[in-house]
């Protein structure tokens, strides 16, 4: 059972200061260029925590960095009677207890998805686990969705029922607090001075805010219909081809996407005798993504490159995990200069679907 509290807005800064004594603090911070990004806060007094704009980045890179060293390796050709010796040394990341503050529902939901990918499949990913292990999430429900948001259609917002440690709702002069996972409950117990009881009026207001938020989405995206159409038949080749041609191979959509987790592993030689094994973000839209030794490529990049991206989100993950893996954050809409975002795909698909996909080739 979720417990509810009130946190006065004046008390937020002091609470974060207390937490930052024992935890690394990460929040959406507006930088000198006017960009709002999730950033580690080292000086709370001078950091501009921006809760008015959608953070341009998600939390993905904090658990699954754009580039990380998995291990270093050493080669020695002389040591053992001229035989090559080859050894590997794991480079595990530091486990730093972190409070993530100001996480929007879509991004919170995305963390739950990446947990499933990295922790609950065939093998546990200890690099991800190490970074993810001692995190506390203080999320914020969205009273007013941002311009490209459609989390209502993907059922990953604007408010969540779980997954967070604490979820906040803006009630004007105060935050309405809901506890989620045990760490959130513990947090309210450790700092009882900050968390005061709620009144019936607060509860009503919170309910009202949540209800109103659902009516404020500016984009109507037919995610369920797209999922249904894709479960029944193949997407029209015309759409796949047109969007594939418009794709410029930049990978921006995958990098900005909070649930895209494809990666590359490659060796970076430091000198003749040593190097590092690097894991870095990759994108299924890249033309070399499926290229094999001997130059055989089972995927035709020119006409097919976007097929995997959209089918993975809207069909394959539905088959595998019971729901689409798009969280409706809308970041790819802003990111793609070719207009090859998931909303465009869903719009084209559902428009074609009105006449029945079967007839179209």
């Amino acid at each position: 059972m979720n417990r509810n509290f009130i946190l006065k807005k004046d008390h937020l800064q002091p609470l974060l200061r207390k937490l930052s004594k024992t935890h690394r603090l990460v929040a959406p911070v507006r930088n000198d260029f006017g960009d709002t990004l999730f950033t580690e806060i080292t000086r709370l007094d001078s950091a501009v925590i921006d809760l008015q704009n959608q953070p341009q980045s998600s939390l993905k890179s904090f658990f699954f960095p754009q580039q990380e060293t998995l291990c270093s390796y050493i080669v020695d050709k002389k040591l053992n009677k001229g035989k090559m010796e080859y050894s590997f040394h794991a480079r595990l990341p530091e486990n730093a207890p972190t409070v993530f503050f100001g996480v929007r529902s879509c991004d919170m939901f995305a963390v739950m998805y990446t947990d499933m990918i990295f922790l609950h499949q065939h093998e546990r990913d200890i690099y991800y686990e190490q970074r993810r292990d001692s995190s506390i999430f203080i999320s914020i429900g969205c009273n007013r969705p941002f311009a490209n948001c459609f989390c209502n259609a993907t059922r990953s917002g604007p408010f969540l029922d779980g997954g967070f440690d604490l979820q906040l709702t803006d009630l004007g002069d105060r935050w309405f607090v809901e506890t989620g996972r045990p760490r959130g409950v513990r947090l309210t117990e450790e700092w009882p001075g900050f968390f005061t009881p709620v009144s019936e009026d607060d509860k009503r207001k919170q309910f009202q805010a949540e209800l109103e938020a659902r009516g404020l989405f500016r984009k109507l995206v037919h995610v369920d219909l797209a999922v249904k159409l894709l479960a029944e038949s193949e997407p029209p080749e015309r759409i796949i081809e047109e969007l594939s041609r418009r794709c410029q191979d930049c990978g921006g959509c995958a990098y900005i996407c909070p649930t895209c987790t494809c990666f590359n592993i490659s060796d970076l030689a430091l000198n003749e005798d040593s190097g590092e094994r690097i894991r870095s973000w990759d994108a299924c839209t890249f033309s070399g993504f499926t290229l094999m030794a001997g130059n055989h490529n089972p995927v035709n990049a020119a006409s097919e490159r976007i097929r995997k991206r959209f089918l993975h989100k809207l069909r394959h993950d539905v088959e595998k995990h019971g729901r689409p893996s798009c969280v409706g954050c809308g970041r790819c809409v802003e990111m793609c200069f070719g207009g090859v975002d998931i909303v465009r795909f869903i719009d084209m698909l559902t428009a074609a679907g009105e006449n029945g996909l079967q007839g179209e080739k």
Binding site: L70, C71, Y73, V75, N80, K81, K83, M84, E85, Y86, S87, F88, A90, L92, I117, F118, Q121, H122, E123, R124, D125, I126, Y127, T261, C262, F263, N264, I265, S266, D267, A269, G275, R277, R279, D282, C284, F289, T290, L291, M292, A293, G294, H296, P298, V299, K308, L311, H312, R315, H316, E319, K320
Partner: protein, 296 residues
């Protein structure tokens, strides 16, 4: 129940077996040593490999059809299937064709040199379903490597299987791998073999034509035979289509696919094939599991 093919070999007395998968780092390779190298042909070598850790080596096992990720200095990793059978423990074999940067570096290795390996990964051939059936192996070029593992395995449990027939096609006579092994087993009456090359040449007095042509002389009795097919994608497609036309159900045609891979554990995304990952859902599939034969 699966027969106890997968049981670990008993460790030497006095040495406690180490748990193989206890809290391990899935991405960290283990050190292994090249014991022996056989040159199959100009482009293909078979490497016999042992783990440096003797206890691990004694306990290590796998099944035909599975693969491992092979590390080479400065080259990263590549998926390589086992070409030996786990029924002959002590070491395992990797048969590698010189095709790119990593495999070219592997070809430079000498006995005693070290490589990095992690695995085994992937789903093996369905031995439980193959038992009590005739087996028809159809291989093209280097595609013989994973099938050799199966053949050797089946020979070690010979009574479990009916007739074993091996059809093997290559571009030229110089491209065959394991031909001595195959001919030796044929000589002992354990299997029957047919070889073919794509084009006629002086040093070849055998069959000429595609491996599908060899199927013309084979009687397929649906229900009692399982076909195991491996080779280039287009060869798999034509053999599978030919077998389907002969009345063999798609579920009885088994193949193993190749893809670019980075992790081997179903996460990195590179080996996607429709909704599946070749590394964890495969690499062994029946034709009935494949969405189509065109995109192999």
């Amino acid at each position: 129940m699966m027969r106890n093919y997968n049981s670990r070999q008993t460790a030497k007395p006095g040495k406690k077996p180490v748990p193989l998968f206890a809290d391990r780092n899935a991405y960290l390779p283990l050190r292994a040593i090249i014991k022996d190298i056989v040159e199959e042909n100009e482009l293909v070598k078979t490497f016999a490999v042992v783990f440096e850790d003797e206890i691990y080596n004694t306990n290590f096992t796998y099944l035909p059809g599975q693969f491992l990720m092979l590390s080479m200095p400065h080259c990263g990793e590549a998926p390589i299937s086992f070409s030996s059978s786990p029924s002959r423990p002590g070491s395992f074999s990797l048969t590698i064709r010189k095709a790119g940067k990593l495999t070219s570096a592997v070809h430079e290795l000498q006995p005693g040199d070290m490589i990095g390996v992690r695995g085994p990964y992937g789903k093996p051939f369905p031995f439980e379903e193959m038992r009590r059936h005739d087996l028809l192996f159809v291989a093209g070029g280097i595609g013989m490597a994973p099938l050799r593992s199966v053949i050797e395995f089946c020979l070690d449990y010979r009574a479990d299987y009916g007739d074993i027939k091996v059809l093997y096609g290559c571009k030229t006579p110089a491209d065959f791998c394991f031909r001595q092994d195959l001919e030796k087993w044929a000589g002992e009456g354990l299997i029957t073999t047919r070889f073919t090359v794509d084009a006629a040449c002086e040093e070849w007095n055998g069959c000429v034509g595609l491996v599908t042509d060899l199927l013309d002389d084979v009687t397929i009795s649906a229900g009692s035979v399982k076909a195991l097919v491996c080779g280039p994608g287009v060869m798999i497609r034509f053999v599978a289509e030919r077998l389907l036309r002969s009345g063999l159900p798609a579920g009885d045609i088994i193949t193993t696919l190749e893809r670019h891979m980075k992790c081997g554990i179903g996460v990195c995304g590179h080996c996607h094939y429709d909704s599946r990952m070749i590394c964890t859902d495969g690499p062994v599939f029946t034709v009935s599991q494949l969405p189509d034969l065109e995109s192999l």
